[in-house]
């Protein structure tokens, strides 16, 4: 007992004072480096948000959410007399919401069904093939998706740039995220819950609808929100599929605007530069809220 006590009370520093000091120094150096780099990362995020707020908030007003952008001459006149640029980005906001809604309508049912299929047949060869394809799809550059959809939908189906084409491109980009999050969320459900439902004489498709989907709802929803926030800022595929539209459009076979498309247009017009910042602030804010919502829902898991 006494010996053990003696042992535990001996300080390493007493035996190897030099070694111990060096180790402490190394420790502190490492900790310092970690803190330094994480501070850089954090400040980078705040710098982005701060820049957007400082440069963008002037233009965020009622007109911003209710009017379409002005022509370049009006914008120039307003600027030269020191006023705010009149007009807003309502065509872009409605366009983005429209595109995201149609894309979700396509991607969510497909994604959930494929996710369920993968979960139910996780060990089958065909399932792991689908899983590989999903991974590949996730890595396909968005411009490539845009090109393919241009070829399929713009050229052959709507015969011109359209909401449908844009939504198809965005849906393809959403799919892998929804498939994966559905499969992962279902894997978390304990088997005993399925058995409880089956033991009540529930046919399997109703077990899926009434137990698996509701129980994994928060996981699936998180995936959907992250998928949406990922595609909301996509610009390249939309340039090839929806082109843009100076007015609000609800016709699914016609071109439509979107916030990132407007940002690109404003960038190319020196008179519109001020609108870039407010549009970007809006987009960033929206994506940030979706992300926070996703985090909040993920934290509300059922079991």
């Amino acid at each position: 007992m006494g010996i053990v006590n003696k042992h535990t009370k001996i300080n390493r520093a007493d035996i190897y004072p030099d070694h111990f000091g060096r180790r402490k120094f190394k420790n502190n150096l490492f900790l310092g480096t970690v803190i330094f780099f994480s501070l850089i990362t954090i400040s980078f995020v705040f710098l982005i948000i701060g820049t957007l707020v400082v440069k963008g908030y002037h233009q965020i007003n009622w007109a911003f959410f209710t009017q379409t952008p002005p022509d370049t001459f009006t914008a120039m006149m307003a600027k030269s007399s020191g006023q705010l640029i009149p007009g807003g980005i309502i065509n872009g906001i409605t366009g983005t919401l429209y595109l995201v809604a149609i894309a979700s309508l396509i991607a969510i049912p497909f994604g959930i069904l494929i996710g369920i299929y993968l979960y139910e047949n996780s060990s089958k060869r065909y399932a792991s093939f689908i899983r590989d394809i999903t991974d590949v799809l996730q890595g396909v550059p968005s411009i490539v998706v845009g090109l393919i959809v241009y070829l399929w939908v713009v050229v052959h189906i709507t015969r011109g740039y359209s909401v449908l084409a844009g939504s198809t491109a965005l849906a393809i980009m959403m799919l892998p995220l929804i498939i994966r999050s559905t499969e992962e969320a279902m894997k978390m459900i304990p088997d005993t819950l399925k058995e409880a439902a089956i033991a009540l004489g529930t046919p399997y498709y109703k077990v899926v609808l009434r137990v698996l989907i509701p129980t994994s709802f928060s996981g699936i929803m998180t995936g959907i929100l992250l998928a949406i926030s990922r595609i909301m800022g996509e610009t390249a595929p939309l340039m090839l599929t929806t082109l843009g539209n100076p007015a609000i459009n609800w016709n699914i076979t016609k071109p439509v605007s979107a916030v990132p498309l407007l940002i690109w247009q404003f960038y190319n017009d020196p008179n519109m530069v001020d609108l870039i910042w407010s549009s970007t602030l809006f987009l960033m804010g929206f994506v940030l809220i979706l992300n926070l919502l996703a985090k909040w829902i993920a934290a509300k898991r059922n079991f």
Binding site: E195, A199, K206, T215, N302, F303
Partner: protein, 260 residues
């Protein structure tokens, strides 16, 4: 093979030459025959891995969830061969309670009790539903504890309460038989005692088959006991006889704690 010696009640289940293999050749249940009395508690005992769960799950055909399983022999529920019934109907007549409490986490206490109806789109009038919920919860002595929080999630309850909720869920269909697979193995002694008491009460209305790893539990509450060993039904007696005067060496060995 031992037959049930003391049949004081008419049989409700009869198992005839039942053999079950998860994979070819390796039998998990070997040629088991037994009849189970109506309104009794039958305990299934035996060392871990001897086939208790497999036998129990064969009674409501839950064992068929394993894709490669093969079954020979028959089980009759009051003269109907269960392997010729639809599993959906069968499972409403033979309810099941699992080792760990598994209330549906998305449903309230109330909805958990009538989950069987909800899942299957069986429409009930409001009053009928209220009535089923109350009787089922009273049957498991949970009513007084939860009557003011029926619309809270079932997962807020303690482990013992959750397990009683799961029994209530099985009772809601008014089944003929209730199968329980080590229902108290995850519970503390107080919660266990409550469940044992209510099972004794429930046998007035239902027939109960209980897998238990706990010999004293079987001794306390069961009328008849099965002892299984390596897939075989070694001995099946009324509980008193089995505990005081076991016929087989292996039963005696198990009951005196020599193995298992």
């Amino acid at each position: 093979m031992n037959e049930n010696n003391i049949n004081t009640q008419p049989a409700i289940l009869s198992i005839e030459n039942l053999s079950i293999a998860y994979d070819k050749d390796k039998l998990a249940v070997k040629n088991v025959s037994a009849t189970i009395e109506k309104n009794s508690i039958t305990a299934i005992m035996g060392p871990s891995g001897c086939g208790k769960t497999t036998l129990l799950r064969a009674i409501n055909r839950m064992h068929e969830l394993y894709p490669n399983i093969s079954t020979t022999g028959i089980i009759k529920l009051s003269n109907d061969n269960i392997y010729e019934m639809s599993t959906i109907k069968l499972r409403r007549k033979i309810g099941m309670v699992f080792q760990r409490p598994n209330p549906f986490p998305t449903l309230s206490i109330y909805d958990n009790v009538v989950a069987g109806y909800k899942m299957n789109d069986i429409h009930l009038k409001r009053l009928e539903r209220d009535e089923i919920v109350e009787t089922s919860l009273r049957d498991v002595t949970l009513w007084d504890e939860v009557k003011d929080s029926l619309h809270k999630k079932g997962t807020f309850l303690s482990g013992g309460q959750q397990q009683r909720l799961c029994i209530a869920r099985a009772l809601a269909f008014k089944p003929d038989v209730i199968l329980l697979d080590e229902p108290t193995s995850a519970l503390d002694p107080v919660a266990t005692a409550k469940i044992e008491d209510l099972l004794v009460d429930l046998k007035k209305q239902y027939t109960i088959v209980l897998v238990t790893h706990n010999m004293s539990q079987a001794a306390r509450i069961s009328d008849n006991s099965m002892f299984m060993y390596m897939g075989e039904l070694i001995e099946y007696e009324d509980t008193k006889t089995m505990f005081t005067n076991p016929k087989d060496k292996r039963t005696e060995g198990y009951l005196t704690g020599k193995f298992g």
